[in-house]
Symmetry: C2
Subunit: 462 residues, 2 copies
């Protein structure tokens, strides 16, 4: 077998023990919150039939789906003319019938439709799994990355929307973030605006343009609106809406006036008010002023969402959104199950990781692995140290004996590299006296402890 220099496939990453601890800290924190709100975990396979995925993500999306080559003689049934003309695109369905998951939404829709007769509706699920996209890799963009979705299908109640606000709030606080904004909009308000302007058919153009307010300012937005078919009069009507300011209730009040003639627009405002009312019933009214912000420039996947739309940003670090989602009314229509309403949000785990790293907010426990390394001075001491090791582990403490009596420096280096907080030095003498030397690797302090004290010390510092 020829020796090859090993490398990673482009756009993929290994996760070291320290990175895994931090990633697991994020995932475990999120899972605990999701479960407290009654969401259960599901998983779907890494690859789906190609036909399940094709056509769900637009033409560009289809190109970014990783296709899996059929096994065996995959060319046997390939039409010769496609091979002769090297028609790569048309050849795909003849040589590939499976593809890697591109997101968690389409597999979830397939899951719901296939399991519809066993599911107790409303079905509340979360799913944390990798997805794969043949994007050009760049800083912060990978070909394999995790998505983390929470959705409920089969319940039109706006209690669900209110609980997503609480979920975001509780989860982000639990992760150590202190200053973030949950932006809220409603597709029906956007429809109402397009309606009162008299250009309902231009709703997508309108929202695409005003969604850019942050980046290009009002002048830029106006320029784009004109290019997209709006008139100067339309801009006059839109301006106060785009520049809407004040508290959430002031904004909603102003919108009520503007949208007075639009049934759908008023319904959108009512929905937000009902969500707020639920949040207040949860005795969490203070959230609404501190954390939640009505933002009618928020659009996100407008072709998809039909009611409330969410987006979450941290205010502590410059970073794109760390989460988002909304209400949709036709998730499963693509698989023949009509009129199943749903609402869901996602957490951007990779971005949250970067934010916590930049702010130094990972708890030290997220780095803790082995609590204690017992130095190996001599094979003759092993009967003593191994029994001690057994006692420590029986008490639930992660501990190791260095597996050979090599130089002390090497053993201490091992503890350092592995970020083991305590090292126990046991020599011949200590096995009889019972006074063991415990070194705190962070402070460098060393003290004598009795074997029977050790468990308590490590438990309290663990």
């Amino acid at each position: 077998m020829a020796t090859i220099k090993p490398s990673l496939a482009k756009g993929t990453r290994d996760f070291s023990p320290l990175e895994m601890e931090k990633r697991n800290h994020i995932f475990n924190t999120l899972k605990a919150v999701f479960k407290k709100f009654g969401y259960n975990e599901i998983q779907t396979p890494s690859f789906e039939n190609l036909s399940t995925l094709t056509g769900k993500y637009g033409e560009e999306g289809d190109k970014l789906i990783f296709k899996i080559l059929n096994s065996g003689d995959y060319l046997a049934k390939a039409p010769s003319d496609l091979l002769d003309s090297k028609n790569a695109l048309k050849l795909i369905p003849h040589i590939s019938e499976k593809a890697l998951r591109y997101d968690l939404t389409v597999p979830f829709a397939r899951y719901v439709v296939m399991h519809q007769h066993e599911l107790a509706l409303p079905f509340k699920r979360f799913q944390i799994q990798p997805v794969w996209r043949a994007d050009r890799p760049q800083r912060g963009r990978y070909r394999e990355f995790y998505q983390c979705d929470v959705d409920v299908v089969g319940s039109p109640s706006l209690l669900n929307e209110a609980e997503f606000i609480l979920i975001y709030h509780e989860a982000l606080l639990a992760l150590g973030l202190t200053d973030f904004t949950i932006k809220l909009n409603n597709r029906k308000i956007l429809s109402g605006i397009a309606e009162v302007i008299g250009k309902p058919q231009l709703i997508v153009d309108m929202t695409v343009a005003i969604d850019k307010l942050d980046k290009i300012g009002l002048d830029g937005v106006n320029k784009e609106l004109l290019e997209r078919g709006f008139t100067a009069e339309d801009l006059d009507l839109l301006k106060p809406i785009i520049l809407l300011e004040g508290t959430n209730s002031q904004k909603l009040q102003a919108l009520k006036t503007v949208l007075a003639s639009s049934v759908v627009g008023l319904r959108g405002i009512e929905e937000i008010e009902e969500v707020f009312s639920y949040v207040e019933h949860f005795a969490a009214a203070s959230l609404l002023d501190k954390v939640v912000e009505v933002d009618i420039t928020l659009a996100r996947g407008l072709n998809y969402y039909t009611g409330c739309i969410f987006e979450v940003k941290t205010n502590e670090v410059a970073m794109g959104s760390i989460g988002g989602g909304g209400r949709y009314d036709d998730l499963t229509g693509m698989f023949g199950l009509k009129d199943l309403t749903g609402v869901g949000v996602s957490f951007g785990a990779d971005r949250i990781y970067d934010v916590l790293e930049e702010l130094g907010r990972f708890p030290s426990s997220a780095a803790a692995t082995t609590q204690l390394l017992i130095v190996n001075f001599d094979k003759s001491i092993e009967p003593f140290t191994l029994r001690l090791l057994a006692d420590l582990r029986a008490a639930g403490i992660a501990a190791e004996l260095y597996p050979a009596a090599v130089k002390l420096k090497k053993q201490m280096g091992y503890a350092d590299d592995k970020k083991i907080p305590y090292v126990l030095l046991v020599g011949e003498e200590e096995t009889t006296s019972g006074d063991l030397s415990l070194k705190d690797m962070q402070s460098g302090e060393q003290r004598k402890v009795r074997a029977e004290e050790l468990i308590d010390i490590l438990r309290n510092n663990g």
Copy 2:
């Protein structure tokens, strides 16, 4: 978009909430034990460069690797003669440069080589991730399944082997198994046997044959040995070894006599004795008689293992091995890093799942999701129930309010389907009296509780 009837890709599975809880119970139990022994988690990408995987699993293995089609115009550089002749096999490297992970061993070797300068040796890692094989699916065999590997590289100490016995023992007990056998052999003993018979070149033939003793009996083994080049005299020499009986120390004593002339054979016996001595130092000597069994018919991946070989079987259910592993001396040689010794074992998570299911050994907590459902009688009561819900969740209790005031039967059906253990019935009257009705869904018993008692009740029964 045409509606298609959704289906799973062949050989893949969805995991429902209940299945996920049970799978997580297995994985979390294993992880906790691995960590207690100083093993840390890593993850590698789902796909590797095809060149990293090709040639590592034999010709048959190569065929079972799922190849990923290159993105874009993947035929542009494909040689026309291969297309014309429909040479599927030779075309692969021209149209595919990535492939799905086939096992965790080769990616781990790549990881160790690529990260060798950052790793503190000995490097103790565990890895629990899916792998993919283009096998023909059948009962219990899937194209996507999880492997669960624990390995240490860079330490020749037999303490590691001893700890794997403890790890198997502690993990399987923690999972609720009570009667299992950890079989132990050593490649050097097998080499010694082939040596004393005078046919060292036939060691693979010998072990392949005697490995089948369980299935085909001594006559079958003898027949196969004769076919594979052994003589009637050889069989006479082999018979007492193959049929070796008694306690572990009796077996080792008998082997010492048989292998007296083989240096390597005696070394194999010494290694097992040293492993046993370590286990005894751990104050776990009783394990050696109860759980560990020297079995010289055990071969497992002989081309690979160089020292101790493990295999674990449950004695409570008819099932193949639920784990195995061994010592290897050239894991990373394929990537140019020579002489790095390692030892590792794996757990067969799918089989362990089936065993626990068959024996009914999953703890009820592995099914517990939401602890309490609050029935929704009327929207007017929501201010009361939502505040209660907030208090429960603040106390760490997973709880839900049914999101709409639909028929009681439907709400109770939801609790049933989701296996929620308690349901709280709060009507108009209860919001003023404060006496709430709590129903235990398993016993059917219903009693009055005060809101402030509720948290304690649910905590104690959770």
